[in-house]
């Protein structure tokens, strides 16, 4: 297979930690965005859940950041896990773009913790979300050319994904509240734009990094990307089912509508987990065809 890196124990750990880091970053950003965007429409209990989600995810994100430093140091050292605490190796990682990204992400995730403060806290958390999104443009192939496109596109992609992923758990809770149906309906309308951004930007990035359709089928990067796209399509299918059938059923107060919708959102969350694992594999193990 073209463009596939060797796989060993440290790499598997690196992929799991990366997927966990993606999830934590998306939930932290998404929780903050939800709190701000739906402050007027959502019930207090739903907003509180979104806030707690943002705070918990930010704390996990910070821990994973430290863990990933050690894993990266172990990978470059060739010494196995012993390399994880080697000061020289950690120094190399700190000097690399991962160090710069860690500063952006660390500060961003700390700022998201400010969501617990009244009023101004929400805006600090929003700034933190932007910093976290921008941290992803500091590493890897985002540093290639065209620099501007490869820096801006991932930031948009992440903000749109975070808006969606971070809303799932609060919405699942909202389905149980009296005003939940209206909130879910409103979310569906806003999310339609978010999904459009997600797909357009994702497609643009895929084009920029793979360069041709043939590259999608002939390289490891292309195949993992296709797996990701298949899961994303399934997720979009579930999302449209929710928007077009299940949420209207909830609004019409049909029997059992709440249970079906909540189960459907749980399946969405599972799909998100699979997408994050596919993405972490994509960015750890494979090289975009354009870089081969």
């Amino acid at each position: 297979m073209t463009g596939l890196a060797p796989i060993d124990g440290v790499v598997v750990l690196a992929i799991l930690a990366k997927a966990l880091g993606y999830g934590a970053a998306l939930l932290a950003m998404g929780g903050a965005l939800f709190t701000l965007l739906f402050a007027k429409r959502a019930e207090e209990s739903v907003l509180r859940l979104a806030q707690h989600l943002a705070v918990g995810a930010a704390i996990v994100g910070l821990a994973v950041l430290a863990l990933r430093f050690g894993i990266r140091a172990a990978r470059i050292s060739g010494m196995g896990f012993e390399g994880a605490t080697d000061p020289m190796m950690l120094g190399f990682v700190w000097d690399s773009p991962l160090g710069t990204a860690a500063i952006w992400r660390g500060i961003g995730e700390l700022a998201i913790l400010a969501i617990l403060l009244p009023r101004v806290g929400h805006w600090i958390a929003l700034a933190g979300s932007l910093a976290v999104a921008m941290s992803f443009a500091q590493v890897g192939h985002s540093l290639g050319e065209p620099r501007a496109a490869l820096a801006v596109l991932p930031v948009l992609h992440l903000l749109a994904a975070a808006f969606w992923v971070g809303a799932l758990l609060p919405l699942r809770k909202a389905a149980l509240t009296p005003t939940g149906a209206d909130l879910l309906h409103h979310f569906g309308n806003v999310a339609a734009y978010g999904v459009a951004v997600l797909i357009l930007v994702g497609a643009a990035l895929a084009w920029l990094l793979s360069g041709s359709v043939a590259a999608l089928f002939g390289t490891a990067y292309g195949l993992v990307l296709l797996v990701k796209v298949v899961i994303v399509s399934a997720l979009l299918g579930i999302a449209s089912l929710n928007k077009l059938r299940l949420v209207p059923a909830l609004r019409a107060e049909k029997r059992g509508a709440t249970i079906v919708l909540r189960r459907s959102i749980s399946i969405e969350m599972l799909a998100v987990v699979l997408i994050l694992l596919a993405t972490a594999t994509l960015t750890s193990l494979t090289t975009p065809p354009i870089n081969l």
């Binding site: 470059i76 050292s77 010494m79 540093l143 290639g144 065209p146 920029l208 360069g211 354009i290 870089n291």
Partner: protein, 114 residues
């Protein structure tokens, strides 16, 4: 339409993008080569690479080599075997980090004959 435009962009930017990642361009001895004498082991990269660990192994185990190149990012890496290499097959493995932060690794093999 958007896709066509982006595709055009991608094609136009191809040569620029291709330079984004450093690769091992050539090695000495060349991968798969049969040689009689190995005065030094060298690797060239098209973009600076921080080479962190290197090992030379023969069927009998690790072979001692001395690095001439330090651990700073470099486009040319050089190391020397401490003793003359006995006939047999050898494999050189390296690990390091590209300038974009990616962990990188690679290897090449060669055979020494009398």
């Amino acid at each position: 339409m958007i896709k066509q435009t982006l595709f055009g962009l991608a094609v136009a930017m191809g040569p620029v993008l291709a330079a984004a990642h450093s690769k091992s361009e050539e090695t000495m001895p060349a991968d798969g080569a049969t040689v009689t004498d190995v005065p030094e082991l060298t690797m060239r990269f098209d973009d600076p690479m921080r080479i962190i660990s290197v090992t030379l192994t023969s069927p009998d185990g690790d072979v001692k080599i001395e690095r001439e190149t330090g651990m700073d990012p470099t486009t040319e890496f050089r190391a020397m075997p401490l003793e003359e290499l006995a006939p047999g097959s050898y494999r050189f493995d390296w690990r390091g980090m590209a300038s974009d932060g990616h962990p990188m690794q690679g290897s090449f093999s060669f055979t020494v004959v009398q």
